[in-house]
Amino acid sequence: MAAPLAELAQQQTAKLVLLGEMGSGKSSLVLRYVKGQFFDYQASTVGAAFLTKTLPELNVKFEIWDTAGQERYHSLAPMYYRGAAAAIIVYDITSPDSFTRAKSWVRELQRQGNPNMIMALAGNKADLEGQRAVTVEEAQAYAAENGLFYVETSAKTSANVNELFEEIARKLPKPEAAPRPPQGGIVLSENQQQQPKKSTCC
């Protein structure tokens, strides 16, 4: 736990898991975020996919687990959210069922997940405003009640996609916060922001 000072400059690795109804756009969000791509016909996920992305400004490396959405795959999910620092629960704003499913994920994580897990609720396919079936108010109220970070996204237009992941990165508990380093954590993390990579040499 008490990390020596030299280690504080190291990049923080955070396990992030995406959960949500099949077809809600989990894979598309990850693909948009990591590779800047979007496919109208994204192949459905069987099992899970793994991708990483580093945010040098925040000194965070995300290890992203994108899971399968079909209800029956649910029993495999604990393997993926176990030990996760953060979870994005995705629903499709045009599908009330997917919102119901998202709520049941939230409850499961509240009970079984890591108690300090950062949870984000993403209302995806926000570009399909004309077919909206879940209102912003409803989702917002639910998120507030459950202490979730909430945002509407579109993997298609990329609206709010970077914001979603970056906000999670900012919310991650900073490893240096725990042992209370002599100079104070804030100064140190500012230094890191300016020199993201080569700080271990000195």
């Binding site: 459905s44 099992g47 899970a48 290890e63 495999l76 049941s104 409850r107 079984q112 009640e145 459950n146």
Partner: protein, 349 residues
């Protein structure tokens, strides 16, 4: 040197080949040569329209069935022809007429455009319609399974490999789910798949102990890497032409082939896998390797000759043990979920 073709190269079934390097082209070319060779071995059986018997059949199937004979041989070896013959000739068309009974229509519909979206036939309306009919008919035929995500990929590969014979593909799907794979593999809780994953984990321990220890250190459960292998029968994991080769043996010898292939995949990549230092990396190395596996002949050699004996009795003994564990796990989950549901009525804290 021949100029590079403008179009992306495809395999014998029209699936696009992803090329990370020239080695894949060489591997595929080698495969073509082998087909020609194998056709000669099969010629006399084709002429008599009678399969070779016993050990000859096993050897020829293990070497790889020439693509144009797959429909015939698969129907025979899998038991699909028998299953079809046990029903009235109009059984499949009756199922199609009863499509309204399916509870899986919406899920099937969602996955159709997401099943091999680059394949000229499967991504076209004709191919999608055929896959729609097969998957929906199956969900009526076997309501306990309904539609399991993953089978869309299997159906896609099988349909193309049997020359688009829709009804044959339907019965081959039925044989896979009902006769060949472990019961419950595709059902509503995937309990059978859990059993297979744990069984594989144990077999890795027996056959590849160093790798097993390494995986345990990384917290890399077999389900992270092998779920798609067992739920799509390699059809979404490997290049489809390679997956067809696995299906050759799977239809003839049964589900233990899934383990042989899984062990062969891990064994062939063992050196690289032992160098990984976290579960994610491990998974990435495995996926990269399997996605680009065009030298299927070499892999099948390892599967059959490189991992030692693996009898159905051995597999079944491990399964039996794991089945009890999974049953308990499923009961616990059901309880937990019931508790979650009762909390639902109360507002969250």
């Amino acid at each position: 040197m021949a100029a590079q073709p403008q179009q992306a190269p495809t395999d014998v079934y029209g699936f696009r080949v992803e090329l990370p390097g020239p080695q894949q082209l060489i591997d595929m070319q080698r495969q073509r040569t082998l087909y020609a060779l194998h056709e000669k071995s099969w010629a006399k059986y084709v002429e008599k329209h009678k399969l070779p018997s016993g050990s000859t059949l096993k050897r020829l199937v293990r070497e790889g069935i020439p693509p144009q004979l797959r429909s015939w041989v698969w129907m025979e070896t899998s038991g699909a022809r028998e299953m079809r013959a046990a029903q009235t000739p109009s059984y499949y068309s009756n199922l199609l007429r009863a499509q309204a009974l399916s509870k899986s229509t919406a899920q099937v519909e969602l996955d159709l455009p997401r099943t091999f979206p680059n394949h000229p036939f499967l991504a076209a309306e004709e191919g999608r319609a055929a896959m729609r009919r097969i998957l929906t008919a199956y969900s009526v035929h076997n309501a306990n399974v309904g539609y399991c995500q993953g089978l869309n990929f299997t159906v896609g590969v099988v349909l193309v490999a049997v020359g688009r014979d829709e009804e044959a593909a339907f019965w081959l799907l039925a044989a896979l789910v009902e006769r060949i794979c472990f019961p419950g593999s595709f059902g509503h809780t995937l309990s059978g798949c859990h059993v297979e994953m744990r069984t594989l984990q144990e077999l890795v321990g027996e056959k590849l102990p160093r790798l097993h220890a390494h995986m345990a250190r990384l917290g890399c459960d077999t389900s992270l890497i092998a779920t798609d292998w067992f739920l799509t029968l390699y059809c979404s994991s490997m290049p489809p032409e390679s997956a067809a080769r696995v299906l050759d043996a799977l239809f003839h010898e049964g589900a233990k082939i899934l383990f042989r292939v899984a062990l062969a995949l891990l064994k062939s990549a063992e050196a690289a896998l032992l160098k990984t230092d976290n579960a994610g990396d491990f998974m990435r190395v495995v996926k990269d390797w399997v996605t680009h596996l065009y030298n299927i002949d070499q892999l099948m050699e390892v599967a059959f000759d490189g991992i030692g004996s693996l009898s159905l009795a051995t597999v079944d003994a491990v399964r039996k043990h794991k089945e009890a564990e999974v049953k308990e796990f499923m009961q616990q989950r059901a309880q937990q979920r019931a508790q979650v549901r009762t909390q639902q009525s109360r507002p969250g804290t």
